[in-house]
Symmetry: C2
Subunit: 217 residues, 2 copies
């Protein structure tokens, strides 16, 4: 990325290795996980894959946990919070946020559980949270209630992405779907054939928003 070399007039290519940075390592780790799955990922493979010593990563991250924290932050940054519809209604805002979060997670099915198993507390994530609560507060929703709503939305979205990713990745490992007419073709199989894997997500989002906007007495 930022590999502008100074004008070296003569040497064709001094093996100009771009320096290792935390951000680069995090995105490289994410790429490796995308390519080969989380189970096959290792610290040593990451070091090797970026062209350095297998142990080089430990100069920038204390351990694998810390690296995965970085991977989760890298995923969050993909949401591109700045371009959310901050000027629309709060419903549009949080809805679009959830859709983007889902799309981002599903772009990295092997890494969803890395994101889902840690609270992302990067400055970018905190800023986004604060900004969103402010927006809701400006529309008359008290911060505590706004936090409850966003927690619900976030947990639903992450849970959804995790379920989709896990189902799709494990699809070939499972037993075949029961055919109509077989004794195993029960009500559940029938209903599954009448839905797609994810056509409940947007209705669920709507239901949560409606339910919070118009609480039953």
């Amino acid at each position: 990325m930022t590999t502008d070399s100074r004008p070296t007039g003569e040497v064709p290519e001094p093996p100009t290795r771009p320096r290792l940075t935390r951000e680069y390592l995090a995105t490289a780790a994410l790429a490796l996980i995308d390519a080969h799955g989380l189970r096959k990922f290792s610290m040593r493979k990451l070091g090797t894959a970026v062209g350095f010593d297998p142990m080089a990563v430990y100069r920038h991250y204390d351990d694998q946990e810390a690296l995965f924290d970085g991977v989760a932050e890298a995923m969050f940054d993909e949401i591109d919070v700045d371009t959310l519809p901050w000027d629309g209604t709060w419903q549009e805002l949080v809805r679009e946020y959830c859709l983007r979060l889902r799309d981002t997670l599903l772009r990295h099915p092997h890494a969803v559980q890395v994101f889902a198993t840690r609270p992302v507390r990067s400055p970018a994530a905190i800023d986004a949270g604060v900004k969103m609560l402010s927006e809701l507060q400006a529309d008359g929703i008290p911060p505590a209630q706004a936090l409850r709503l966003t927690r619900c939305l976030r947990e639903f979205t992450v849970g959804h992405a995790l379920a989709i990713a896990v189902t799709k990745l494990g699809a070939e490992r499972r037993s075949r779907k029961p055919e109509p007419g077989s004794p195993d073709y029960n009500l559940l199989a029938e209903a599954a054939d009448a839905t797609t894997l994810d056509d409940h997500f947007e209705p669920g989002l709507t239901a949560l928003l409606e339910g919070f906007a118009h609480p039953t007495s």
Copy 2:
């Protein structure tokens, strides 16, 4: 557990090892994960912990993935589906199911991600699914719509349990909460102090149920 020894009158204890079974191994694995965390769990430790050879587990499970499938099924069985309020309204039924699922998962915070990262397809789980869809169908909800609703509820519940477990387990590893008055005491911190970690779960459940029962035109 089932170690009733026959009345051996003389030999104090012929090393009467109870045989290894898949179910016992699964619950023992769950206990080990509960006690020491998922990262410290290993196939060898499980074999040793149950008093057999470190490699003994592989006679009953092909690999760690298969064992974890068993652990997830063991967790599902803890829900005790049979005692759900099958005679009440469908709202009471699915609500109680979600509450029990949440409680069960939070009883095993270190194992939540084992459950969350695989589709549980044991006969018990499938039976419960079919039975629930039948119940909703009897109340006039078409199976496809019922499946969408239950998927939403399940993903929200699992996402919630995962978030709570991960937050609580990682609590000491994190930076201190900002104090009121500090520059970091922003709107988010303020809202967090006005809520508990989980007081949004039941409102979220209600919102989903309401939103599905009364869809906006």
